[in-house]
C-alpha cells in the first residue's frame, strides 16, 4: 500500500482526488492497481505495449523511476509515487 500523488489532468479520472492509495509491491503493480480502480487513467499512463507512456514521468519519492528499476522498482508503505505529465498552460 503506497500513496500516489495525482496530477491535475488525471484528477477527474480518479474522482477528483489529489492523493489515492493503491496496493502493490512495485511501481508497475501499484499503477496497474490504480488503473483497475480508475479505468480512465489506463490509457493516459500506459501505452498499448504495457509500458509507461514516455510523456509521463513517475517518481518514487523524489527520484524518477526510470533511473531506478522502472516499473519493477520496489515500493514500501512509507513511499509516495508522484505522477508528472508535462504542463504547458497558456490561454489557447
Amino acid at each position: 500500500m503506497a500513496t500516489i500523488r495525482i496530477p491535475p489532468v488525471l484528477r477527474p479520472a480518479v474522482g477528483g482526488e489529489r492523493e489515492i492509495n493503491a496496493d502493490g509491491e512495485n511501481v508497475g503493480d501499484i499503477l496497474r492497481a490504480m488503473a483497475v480502480d480508475h479505468p480512465g487513467t489506463e490509457s493516459q499512463l500506459f501505452g498499448a505495449d504495457g509500458d509507461l507512456n514516455r510523456y509521463v514521468n513517475v517518481y518514487l519519492n523524489d527520484e524518477d523511476v526510470r533511473v531506478l528499476d522502472g516499473l519493477d522498482t520496489a515500493v514500501g508503505t512509507a513511499d509516495t509515487l508522484v505522477i508528472l505529465p508535462a504542463m504547458a498552460g497558456g490561454a489557447r
Binding site: V9, D64, G89, G90
Partner: protein, 393 residues
C-alpha cells in the same frame, strides 16, 4: 586633563600593527582580506582592487558580515592611515579580532606609489536610494546591484507568468529586459496579468509592459519583440541575453527554446501552470538537465489542456512568476541554490511544495552533445516542431 585626539592616536599606533602598502599589495595576491573604511564618496572615486567596503560609520555593525572569522587577518585602510588606526583599535579591543593591521599612509600613499586602483562603476545617489534595501544585504551590496544593472534577461511572454516576473525584475534593477509577445491586452487577462491594466485593453502587450516598467524603474531598458518566436527568428534574438524566462503557453516553442538555449549555453528559468498547480525548474545547459531530459516527448493534446480551456486561479501565475524572478536573481548574483536539477511542484490549494530530482539524460537528443560539435549550418536549423508536437500519438 584628558589627552588630545592626536595623542590618543599616537598611543593607538604604538599598540596596533601597521603595514606598508607594498606589503598589502603582496598580501592581496595571496587572498588577504582588505577593508576600506572610508566614506561612500571616497570609495566611489577609487579604491584598492579586491578591497571590501565597510565605512567607519558602520564599522561595528557591518564588519562581522564581511569578516566573520575573527582569527582571519584583516587589513584596514583609509585615506591617510588615521581612521584605519582607530578602526583597528575598535576591532581588536572591542570586538575581539585577533589579527588586524592598519595600512600606513592610506590610499593616498597607495596611489602615490602608482599601484593599481579600481574605480567602481558609478551609481547615482538616486540609485543608492532606490536600491538601498538591496545594498544592505551581504549577498547583494553595490557589486551585486551592478550585476543586476548589467544583466540582460529575456522574458518569453508578457502574460500570466511574464507579468509578475517582469515587474519584480524591473523593480530589482535588471538593466535590460527583453519581452517577446505578439498578443494584445484582453479584459480576461486582467485577472492575473498585473503588468497590464484596464486602460491598456487592446494595446500590444509589449507596449503595455514597457509603459508599466518605465513608470516603475527608469533604469531599465525594455527591448520589445512583438512577434512569435520561431526557428526563423530565435537565433537572432536569444544570443543578446544572459538568461531566458520561459512563460510560454505551448510545447513546440518550449522545445525550440530548449534546443536553442542549450546550443547557446543560456540558462532557462521555466515554469508552467494549470488550475491551482505550478511547476518550476532551472535548466542550465551542461550543468544540469535540459527540458528534453525531463520531458523527451510532449503529451498528446488531451493530457495538456490550456488555461483558456481549464481555467487558472489568478494568484497562481503570480506566485510562480515571482519564483521565476527569484531564480533569475539568484543566477545573476550567483547566490543560494537555484533549482538546477530540481523540479518544484506547488499546489496552491494544499499550500504544499514538493520537489523531485531531474537528472541529465546521458542519451538526451540535445544536451548529450557538445554544442561546439554542432556546425554553423545546423545552428538555426530545427526540426519541424509543430509537426513533431502535433504528430505524437
Amino acid at each position: 586633563m584628558s589627552p588630545s585626539g592626536a595623542e590618543v592616536l599616537r598611543q593607538i599606533k604604538d599598540r596596533i600593527e601597521e603595514v606598508d602598502p607594498a606589503t598589502v599589495r603582496e598580501q592581496l595576491e595571496s587572498g588577504a582580506l582588505v577593508v576600506d573604511v572610508r566614506q561612500d564618496e571616497e570609495w566611489a572615486t577609487g579604491h584598492i582592487p579586491g578591497a571590501r567596503h565597510v565605512p567607519k560609520s558602520h564599522l561595528e555593525s557591518r564588519i562581522e558580515g564581511v569578516a566573520p572569522d575573527k582569527s582571519q587577518r584583516v587589513v584596514l585602510y583609509c585615506a591617510s592611515g588615521q581612521r584605519s588606526a582607530w578602526a583597528a583599535r575598535t576591532l581588536i579591543e572591542d570586538l575581539g579580532y585577533e589579527s588586524v593591521e592598519s595600512m600606513t599612509g592610506g590610499f593616498t600613499l597607495w596611489k602615490d606609489r602608482g599601484y593599481q586602483v579600481e574605480v567602481p562603476r558609478f551609481m547615482s545617489a538616486e540609485q543608492r536610494d532606490r536600491y538601498s534595501r538591496h545594498l544592505l544585504l551581504n549577498e547583494v551590496g553595490i557589486e551585486g546591484q551592478q550585476k543586476l544593472l548589467d544583466a540582460k534577461v529575456l522574458l518569453l511572454g508578457a502574460g500570466g507568468l511574464g507579468s509578475p516576473a517582469a515587474l519584480y525584475l524591473a523593480a530589482a534593477g535588471v538593466g535590460t529586459i527583453g519581452i517577446v509577445d505578439d498578443d494584445t491586452v484582453d479584459l480576461s487577462n486582467l485577472q492575473r496579468q498585473v503588468i497590464h491594466n484596464s486602460e491598456r485593453v487592446g494595446v500590444a502587450k509589449v507596449d503595455s509592459a514597457e509603459a508599466t516598467i518605465n513608470a516603475l524603474n527608469p533604469d531599465v531598458k525594455v527591448e520589445k519583440h512583438k512577434l512569435r518566436l520561431g526557428p526563423d527568428n530565435i537565433m537572432d534574438i536569444l544570443p543578446n541575453y544572459d538568461i531566458v524566462v520561459d512563460g510560454l503557453d505551448n510545447f513546440p516553442t518550449r522545445y525550440l527554446v530548449n534546443d536553442a538555449s542549450v546550443r547557446l549555453r543560456i540558462p532557462v528559468v521555466s515554469a508552467a501552470i494549470l488550475g491551482f498547480d505550478g511547476q518550476l525548474s532551472v535548466f542550465k545547459p551542461y550543468e544540469g538537465p535540459c527540458y528534453r531530459c525531463l520531458f523527451p516527448v510532449p503529451p498528446p493534446a488531451e493530457l495538456a489542456p490550456s488555461c483558456g480551456a481549464n481555467g487558472v486561479i489568478g494568484v497562481l501565475p503570480g506566485t510562480m512568476g515571482l519564483l521565476q524572478a527569484t531564480e533569475v536573481i539568484k543566477l545573476i548574483l550567483d547566490i543560494g541554490n537555484p533549482l538546477i536539477g530540481r523540479l518544484l511542484m506547488y499546489d496552491a490549494l494544499a499550500a504544499t511544495a514538493t520537489e523531485v530530482k531531474v537528472r541529465r539524460d546521458p542519451h538526451c537528443a540535445i544536451c548529450s552533445r557538445d554544442p561546439d560539435e554542432i556546425s554553423d549550418d545546423e545552428l538555426g536549423v530545427f526540426p519541424d516542431y509543430e509537426a513533431f508536437c502535433a504528430g505524437v500519438h
